[in-house]
Amino acid sequence: MLIGVICGLKRFYVPWKLSVFGILKKGSMISILRINRYISGAAAAVNWIAALAIFLMMMVTTVDVVARFFRISVPGAYETIGFLGALAIAFSLPYTAAQKGHIAVDFLVRRFSRPLRIAVNIFNSAFALVLFALIAFQSYQYAQTMKAAGTVSSTLEMPVYPFVYGVAAGCILLCPVLLMDLVLQFRGVESE
């Protein structure tokens, strides 16, 4: 991380040839862009899990309401929908970040000079990376605590920990997207 920062600063001062770190060499630019494409592709692939979860949420609620109309109750609809919601959001984290889908205020930064803009982007990407690495790690630990304690849902008595692992997984998968943002900033590829 620190090495990355130092290399990145060098990017502004030294010609490409002098840079000793492979990832920052000019020749490796194409491969970085390729890695970025893979990561974006993987983020979209993982997003299918989120999409499926939302579709299932809709189906479960509809079946539940229609069944209630005929005085049949679907056990555990309430908790199932909540758990599906957790999967939907966790697994859409990488895609949303890759699509630059989060709300941010950028009218001020747009007026900055290019180096300043890149510096701001580097700070933001690094901040997000550290934040989600922490959330991923903590969620993983939280899941382990739940597994050890045998926490189950109230109606179906489903174990809760796999869904917490799901949230941890979503956060972990978000990290490569954020890391790529950071690397691309150092290479001077500005993200919008």
């Binding site: 895609y95 699509q99 205020v105 930064v109 901040f127």
Partner: protein, 432 residues
Amino acid sequence: MTPTTVGIIGIVALFGLIFFRMPVGYLMAGIGMIGFASIVSFDAALSLMARDVFSVFSSYSLTVIPLFVFMGQIAFHSGISTRLFDAAYKFVGHVPGGLAIATIGACAAFSAICGSTNATAATMGAATLPEMKRYNYKPELATGVVAAGGSLGILIPPSVVFIVYGILTEQSIGKLFIAGLLPGLLLMVLFTAAIRIWTWMRPELGPGGEKASWGEKVRSLSGLVETLVIFAVVMGGLFKGIFTPTEAGGIGAFATLVVALIRRNLDWNGFVQALFETTRITCMILVIVAGATIFSRFMAVTRIPYDIAGWITGFDLAPAAIIFFIILVYFVGGCFIDALALIMLTIPIFFPVVMELGYDPIWFGVVIVLVTQIGVITPPVGVNVYVVSGVARDVPLNTIFRGVIPLLIAMIIATLLLIPFPWIALYLPGLL
């Protein structure tokens, strides 16, 4: 450092860094975590953060968001907007500015199944801008109407902003939904009046079209029927307490999907796009909710929200002056920050004050939604204007901003009417 000092530093850092393109949700979570850690302990902050993230992501009451977003996305991708516009056009197309009024009418109808201002502006823009161009409407009228009409999407239920406000302030989402209905219709009338006055002063802006026969008018209504049926089932069931907001969203999404499939308006591609857009919008909103939750933990340990409430009410100011000041903050803030993000940022601070002053929480929700919607069409961050310029690429941004002005005046009048006449918002919820 006292907790209050840490809290003030946190608030200043939040409102400072927000202007540096940091995603709002990430920023609130990060500052909330750091602040909580520096007052309580680092370990406590970390474990609280993981718990909050999971409890927000898996919260049943928040699943209402993806379901209503999905409903709107299906409506967006299935051409319902075109049928709504056709129906409205058959009725008012012949008067000067009639197409613009039809656009407002179609926006209002579309809002009944779509809870997002941007989606309403985008979908109505795609459906109506080419028509208005065909009838020689000037771009400033055409684009201004579409950008402003989107704000009906937020006032007329369902509405994503009301859902978030309801969850943050523990108010009934059903009551908020129905409270938005009359102000939404009032705004529709004011928009129509603005267009009539504007085209009366400058008839060249929107020449009238040919008059439709009564037979055509009646036939065009079939496009409206399905939307009204879905709206009646979803909102009726919600208001009657037959189902929860989440169930209303699920049923609404399912019904809209069925209508789109029967009408053969939705192909696999559109369906996948609707789903993926839904995941993206949901993730964006829920990340802010999670961030706001973590940030509010930090605020709670500093006790600042209570202090501010006490401090402001300690001033010897008339409640009306304070409420006016708060509305002004939303008005100015709305020009720079996305409506949803702004509400989540400020509700923890202002809501206790407003309650302390004895105002109605439902009324306050309607007022700030209306005020932040003004920000959606004003520079520099007028999101709807950017959305419309994305649809109408040949129209300069300045033209759209100019076209919005008469409708902006209508929105300001609506807000000013809501302050002395709170029953506009509170009459319908009172019937529940």
